[in-house]
Symmetry: C2
Subunit: 191 residues, 2 copies
């Protein structure tokens, strides 16, 4: 990459990082492009150069995470047996949630992004596949409720109270509690 291209990618990433922090604190609807410009210390037109709307910025924020979710869902769907599939989906989701501690709670709780993402068919399809992999352990409405509870619970377990924990420690707590919720025993061999 030429120096200017590197710089453009750099400032693009700075806007994305600032947006995640502001969306988390003030919600998506409560964050303006002006607030993002102020946070980074540039003019609004500098943000406009990369992102024309708040929605474009949200898509840029979410896109890498969607790739991670897709890979986790596909890895789980490739396993044989409901328990192995649920276990792989659970650990895959906890892994990516712990790496994206601010972003995942926002996407689970804030109605703005939820509404926007739900309108994208490939996203709602992905979320349904994820829920199905967890719900399949207990077919019926009870299984769906437990799957919803686990997804929301993992997001909620990454609150301010656990913010000082190492990724590995937090990951173990979240997986262990979620297994209990789902009625999933720990596999003999952890991978």
């Amino acid at each position: 990459m030429a120096v200017t291209a590197v710089r453009a990618a750099d400032s693009r990433q700075r806007f994305i990082d600032a947006a995640i922090g502001l969306f988390t604190r003030h919600s998506f609807a409560g964050t303006s492009l002006q607030m993002i410009a102020d946070e980074v210390g540039v003019t609004k037109s500098a943000v406009h150069h990369h992102f024309r709307t708040r929605e474009e910025l949200l898509n840029a924020v979410v896109e890498p995470l969607l790739g991670e979710v897709r890979r986790a869902v596909e890895a789980a769907e490739g396993k044989r047996g409901r328990r192995a599939r649920a276990e792989r989906m659970l650990t895959g989701f906890v892994d990516l949630a712990v790496r994206n501690r601010l972003l995942v709670p926002m996407l689970v709780g804030d109605p703005g992004p939820i509404e926007m993402l739900r309108s994208r068919t490939e996203v709602s399809d992905l979320v349904n596949r994820m829920i199905m992999l967890l719900a399949d352990l207990d077919p019926g409405v009870g299984g769906w409720i437990k799957a919803d509870m686990v997804m929301a619970g993992i997001a909620g377990g990454m609150s301010a109270r656990s913010s000082g924990l190492d990724d590995d420690v937090l990951r173990r707590y979240l997986i262990e509690a979620s297994r209990r919720t789902l009625g999933l025993r720990a596999p003999r061999c952890l991978t």
Copy 2:
């Protein structure tokens, strides 16, 4: 009450009901007093007559629920033994969450109301007491994480997928799954 007082209380309640629906769909920051007026079919000044700001309206929305939470926390704190206290807090919270299926997820997930409520000392104190009653089953960071997961999980379990269920059925699913998460056996005698 005189007829005009009844009418004033009526329209006040209509604004509150409309606000809950709009806050849920568009988030608190994404809802204006104008949108609430449009939803009810009145002018913005008619809303202004009752609520001068969106924040005043949110307080009116939340106040009755805070009363319910306070009563549930006090009832749980009055029990003897950690298990009995956690069990009473869990069932009390599920009861009020199921009766407030739209409101509770909003207050758990939307950063706008969370920020506003956290700044009220008596509310953050109440939330801490609630978490403590659940976390006390497993003292230490693991207990706090499970308590956070259960609170968020209950809110998440009341998603669109469970919206058709009777209160009693939904209540049983949420309590049973939360007990498993917390490692709380069902009490011999359900009260």
